[in-house]
Amino acid sequence: MRHTLSVMVENKHGVLTRVAGMFSRRGYNIDSLTVGVTEDPTISRMTIVVRGDDEVLEQVTKQLNKLIDVIRVTDLKSEETVERELALFKVNSDVSNRSEIMQIADIFRARIIDVAPRSLIIEVTGDEAKINAIEQLLRPFGIREMVRTGKIALRRGTKNVSS
């Protein structure tokens, strides 16, 4: 079972290490972790995707809360949350298949952000399933490199994650 945790932390040096260290020390698995500053510059938001059953999730949440620099931990339920991930794919491409690849990109509302004689870089945002899907379609052309940011998420509606 995977859970998406939104973790508000003090925007200070070393906080990422504390969080990551706690996960490794206690043997919890992180699928992805993103971090960036929030609307309040003294607070950063970590979005952590963690794998485990309800008991593991409970312990992870409590252990996170024990860190002095962690201000609030929220378990985001997928039905009430919008989730996005950004990925960049560098794909083998030449004149013979460039338009085919661009069509695929169009279908996914992805953008071509770099073109070279033998490759393209495609930027795509979406939920995890969408990014997995475009990856499947690009694979036959040869993915030279790819990078994914990991998931970020916000709660739908007016209510904040942190309220």
Binding site: V9, G14, T17, G21, E58, K62, K66, I68, V70, I71
Partner: protein, 565 residues
């Protein structure tokens, strides 16, 4: 309060902060990165106890904290000084003891350059501190130190480390000590939920076989009186863990001694047959629970703890009550009524008669059994503070001494640090000079920090070190005897040291006792001397700690291992 500011260096500001935190004693060792701070210590009102190895400074600070209830303070220089504190900090973390450790650090501009005596001590201690700080701006020093003491001593206590780059300690700042701490990510719960407390009370009322399982949380929240009132009102028997010793009077009829691996049989049987386990300030450590699947399977569990992360960590809890043990017990006692424990207490009484903690005195000869020494100490100075190292002697000290008051038993529980006891006893004696402080140690453990004899002599701290000298690393030998076919690999340390001469070399008093009739005079002489004293008790070599639950077994599968002769 602190309206006006005053200009001073970071080092001076550190001393001012210590004054404001009520610190009267620190344990430390100087070094290059600490020179500006030590220059301020010189001539300050703070007593500095100079140890001979930084590890001892951390242990002594912890012993001081455990004996007094105040926050212990230690200080060491950058690099090796800081890394030498690590074991002591880890020990304080495992047993939730409030200490603040200050470390020197190379100047800010050199951090990360592999400078001389540089170590990333905040990185190293991240998993073994409640929190730690590297001060990057001298102006933040007072606030950080204020926070460090606050974090160490509140909620679930623990060690906090503050790393002080040398330039920070020489920079001039406008000193201002904040009145309040504002930490939005740290807000411990003290008041338990009243609904949960009422629920617990109703379960207690219906319970036939209740057991109170109390630990170090009772000591740190100063809840011994509340625990006693509660236990007496509901008439539930009490077992205290190693770190909970003294949290309930050892001579009380409801007391069952320690649970777990070397606990009393009756405490273990009681837990296993209990229908309601009332856990207070404990963490269901593996040395207590044995095989988790078979632990207290018939019992509902009420768990009172200040740390929500301890709830259902190892054992599923039916009624969690998060908060301060003292607060919760003082409210629980109002709602609680007597349990249905009449038959249960009779049954436990029978168990106590049938399976007492005991040992067999030799039929011939006048050799000394280790348990006899503990019983003698218990007779001669029942109000002493007992500080142990780690091993067989530690278990005997837990089994055969009756701890009547909190903060009279000091031991390395979670980490099991050999070498802890003697320096911790120095800290305890410095904090409680009016008390007789006896370090119970083994010939193995004592040698891990025996250099601190110099500290005790120089600082004139008259602790009594009793060495239970069996010529073995006894606990490991016991396991080798039982589980490795008596192949005593590297556990025999016989005839290695003359401890009397060693004591004398340091200027301490050394006494040797070989015969049983020498035990009492040795202890009396040590107390009367008023000097740091080493008593070398030469004891039976292969005595075992009994009873014992083998690792991985259920706690009612408990073996007798007492040895004749």
């Amino acid at each position: 309060m602190t309206g006006q500011t005053e200009k001073m260096t970071g080092a001076r500001a550190l001393i001012e902060c210590l004054y404001r935190e009520g610190v009267d004693t620190i344990f430390g060792y100087p070094g290059g990165a600490l020179l500006p701070i030590y220059d301020e210590i010189y001539g300050s009102k703070i007593r500095h106890v100079l140890v001979r190895h930084e590890q001892a400074a951390a242990h002594a600070a912890e012993g001081y904290a455990r004996a007094t209830g105040k926050t212990g303070v230690c200080i060491a220089t950058s690099g090796p000084g800081a890394t030498n504190l690590v074991t002591g900090i880890a020990n304080a973390y495992m047993d939730s003891i409030p200490i603040v450790a200050f470390t020197g650090q190379v100047p800010s501009s050199m951090i990360g350059n592999d400078a001389f005596q540089e170590a990333n001590i905040t990185g190293i201690t991240m998993p073994i501190t409640k929190h730690n700080y590297l001060i990057q701006d001298a102006k933040e020093l007072p606030r950080i130190i204020r926070e460090a003491f606050h974090i160490a001593s509140t909620g679930r206590p623990g060690p906090v480390l503050v790393d002080l780059p040398k330039d920070i300690t020489t920079e001039e700042i406008d000193f201002y000590y904040p009145d309040r701490v504002e930490l939005r990510g740290y807000n411990p719960t003290y008041h338990g939920n009243i609904q949960q407390i009422k629920k617990a009370a109703s379960m207690i009322k219906d319970s036939k076989n209740p057991v109170i399982y109390a630990g170090g949380g009772v000591i740190s929240s100063d809840a011994a009186a509340e625990l006693r009132k509660f236990a007496e009102k509901v008439q539930a028997p009490v077992t205290t863990t190693l770190t909970g010793m003294g949290g309930f009077p050892g001579d009380h009829p409801l007391f069952m001694g320690m649970p777990g691996m070397h606990g009393s049989k009756y405490a273990n049987y009681a837990i296993q047959e209990s229908d309601l386990l009332i856990a207070v300030g404990v963490r269901f450590d593996d040395r207590v629970t044995g095989k988790l699947k078979s632990f207290a399977t018939n019992a509902k569990v009420i768990h009172i703890d200040i740390d929500p992360a301890e709830i259902s960590k190892n054992v599923k809890v039916d009624v969690p009550i998060v908060g301060d043990a003292k607060w919760i017990l003082s409210h629980l006692v109002k709602y609680a009524e007597r349990s249905q424990s009449e038959d249960w207490l009779k049954k436990i009484g029978h168990w106590k008669e049938q399976y007492p903690l005991h040992y067999i005195e030799p039929e011939t000869g006048d050799g000394i059994k280790p348990q006899y020494i503990i019983r003698k100490i218990n007779e001669i100075c029942k109000d002493a503070i007992i500080v142990t190292d780690v091993g067989q002697h530690q278990m005997w000290a837990a089994q055969f001494f009756q701890y009547r008051e909190p903060r009279t038993f000091i031991s390395s529980g979670g980490l099991g640090t050999m070498g802890y006891g003697f320096p911790a006893s120095i800290g305890a004696k410095v904090g409680r000079p009016e008390k007789v402080v006896i370090s119970i140690s083994g010939d193995g453990s004592f040698q891990m920090n025996s250099q601190e004899l110099a500290t005790a002599v120089q600082a004139n701290v008259p602790v009594i070190i009793t060495i239970f000298n069996n010529g073995y690393l006894g606990m490991v030998r016991q396991w080798q005897e039982l589980f490795f076919d008596k192949r005593y690999s590297q556990t025999c340390i016989q005839n290695s040291v003359d401890f009397v001469k060693l004591a004398e070399a340091y200027g301490a008093l050394g006494i040797r006792a070989i015969r049983k009739d020498e035990v009492q005079p040795a202890i009396e002489q040590a107390i009367a001397s008023g000097r740091p004293t080493v008593i070398d008790f030469v004891i039976e070599g292969e005595e075992n700690v009994s009873p014992m639950v083998p690792a991985g077994a259920a706690i009612n599968e408990i073996l007798d291992l007492e040895r004749k002769g």
